[in-house]
Amino acid sequence: MRRGLSAVNLCALALGLAFLYLPILVVIALSFNESRLVSVWGGFSLRWYGAVWQNEALLAAVWVSLRVAAFSATIALVLGTLAGLVLARAAQFRGRTMLAGLVYVPLVMPEVVTGLALLLLFVALEWERGALTITLAHATLSLGFVAVLVQSRMLSFDRALEEAALDLGATPFGAFFQVTLPAIWPAILSGWLLAFTLSLDDLVIASFTSGPGATTLPMRLYGQVRLGVSPEINVISTLLIGLAALALLVASLAQKLVRARTEAGAPMRD
């Protein structure tokens, strides 16, 4: 059968992609607008980019967000990997169903529920709220994503390789660190990246679990966006979009590299 695209399909594709990209492209274009009135084109200018660089409250929020994202993604990486390994490997143990269920709960719960629940916990424990409590909340949210990624990677990992290492005299820990861990490393890394992105993007959970001292970038941005459209937000948006595109590019290049290397060594079945 011909795999070319009919006119109707081409139309669907063009309209769908236009719907996805036009709003973003409009914001990017308007970020270079000289005029303060967002919809009136006043000529090309980088004026608002300079203004953003002067906005210290914003830069402070960026710093808080990056720190929270890095720490929470790292906690999620450790706990999520452990959970994923156990769920993939240990067939039956007491509490397996409960662990499997608990890992999924933060994935499917609305952010407003997770946020409120965690805030009430922190109040009950009388923990002071701030960057630390946001980090704990984000780690809880993301560890499920890491666990799911690691678990599915483990299921496609050929156990015979581990058995071979053991037969050749490796200790169980040696076999794990020298054979298994390198093979599931891509899943762990993409889990970390996903956790980092989720944390950077989260507004609702951070708003609930934050205290007076800690304002993340989405929280600061939300405060400004609620007041309406402004050239400065257009610039911040463009910078964030550019950053996300760059990160995706790096991630896909890294994935290609890893794939080329694993194909040379071929420890995966899929």
Partner: protein, 302 residues
């Protein structure tokens, strides 16, 4: 597990303990506290709710649970309208996402093989840009001086700007936009597996392309369509940011009402009761989705 090699992770014990304890402390206990506080009464204090147990110093502590918040859920108009608004707006947003996503997913599955990976990436890419920014972009487009109104005026369709921002329609559009990848990916996955021969058979038997699409392709893609709809509908039910930024003050949804009760009215017990309501509403479809997935897995194993 007889005969399996003993690696560190074939015996759960200590390894499972750490994530397990973390999840109990940060998932299970907080949900129990939400339920507990939903049974309390709001007071002007720190923390702003009454204790569940009261102990006067002698004898047993007294349980002071009150279902007043739950009766209020039924009686108060605002909460009823929030629940109905959540269901209605999430359903309309899901339909809109389906209307855009189904043709898009179909066209993607018909595209030449070597293009499909790129198209998939193109659909996923906006999902990686900040959520707030994607909603903000619609504020830029839909406001009175926004580009859509400018275009409509330039074309002579209207003289006065149409009020689009701050309406329920804008929220529906925002939901369809924000969650479109969740709709497209499962539908594409189920379409891509279809054997083109069934469509050829339909054509040979005299079905015009449109009839073949509706009577062959769509029924075969049903699992993907259902999964996509739920993946849009469920997060949309608890949405806070989209109704707040694109909706008007009258656009009530459960998530937004929880937010208002908590941050503006400082009524923590009521926010707790609303949260329990949201979880109950989500519970049914979630269980159904899980059963569906288990059935698909069982089919795949056979």
């Amino acid at each position: 597990m007889a005969g399996a090699p003993r690696t560190p992770f074939s015996r759960p014990g200590l390894v499972a303990l750490l994530p397990f304890l973390w999840l109990v402390l940060f998932v299970l206990v907080p949900l129990a506290i939400v339920f507990k506080i939903s049974l309390a009464e709001s007071v002007l204090a720190r923390p702003p709710y009454t204790p569940l147990f009261e102990w006067s110093g002698e004898g047993w502590p007294q349980l002071r649970a009150s279902f007043a918040n739950y009766t209020l859920l039924i009686e108060d108009d605002v909460y009823r309208r929030s629940l109905w608004g959540s269901l209605r707006i999430a359903a309309l947003g899901t339909l809109a996402a389906l209307a855009i996503g189904l043709p898009l997913a179909y066209a993607m599955s018909r595209a030449p093989r070597r293009m499909q990976g790129t198209l998939l990436l193109a659909v996923m890419l906006p999902f990686w840009t900040a959520f707030l920014i994607r909603i903000y972009a619609w504020m830029v487009l839909l406001r009175n001086e926004g580009l859509v109104n400018l275009a409509l005026r330039a074309l002579g369709i209207t003289d006065v700007p149409l009020a689009m921002l701050g309406t329920e329609g804008a929220v529906v559009l925002g939901i369809a936009y924000a969650y479109l990848p969740f709709m497209v990916l499962p539908i594409y996955a189920s379409l891509e597996r279809q054997d083109p021969a069934v469509l050829e058979a339909a054509a040979d038997l005299g079905a015009p392309p449109a009839a073949a699409f509706w009577s062959v392709t769509v029924p075969l893609a049903r699992p993907g369509i259902l999964a996509g709809c739920l993946l849009v509908f469920l997060p949309a039910l608890g949405e806070v940011v989209i109704p707040d930024l694109l909706g008007g003050s009258g656009t009530l949804m459960l998530g937004r009402t929880i937010w208002t009760e908590f941050f503006q009215n400082r009524d923590w017990p009521m926010a707790g009761a609303l949260t329990i309501l949201l979880l109950v509403v989500l519970g049914g479809p979630l269980l159904w989705l899980q059963r569906q997935q288990a059935r698909l897995l069982a089919q795949a194993e056979r």
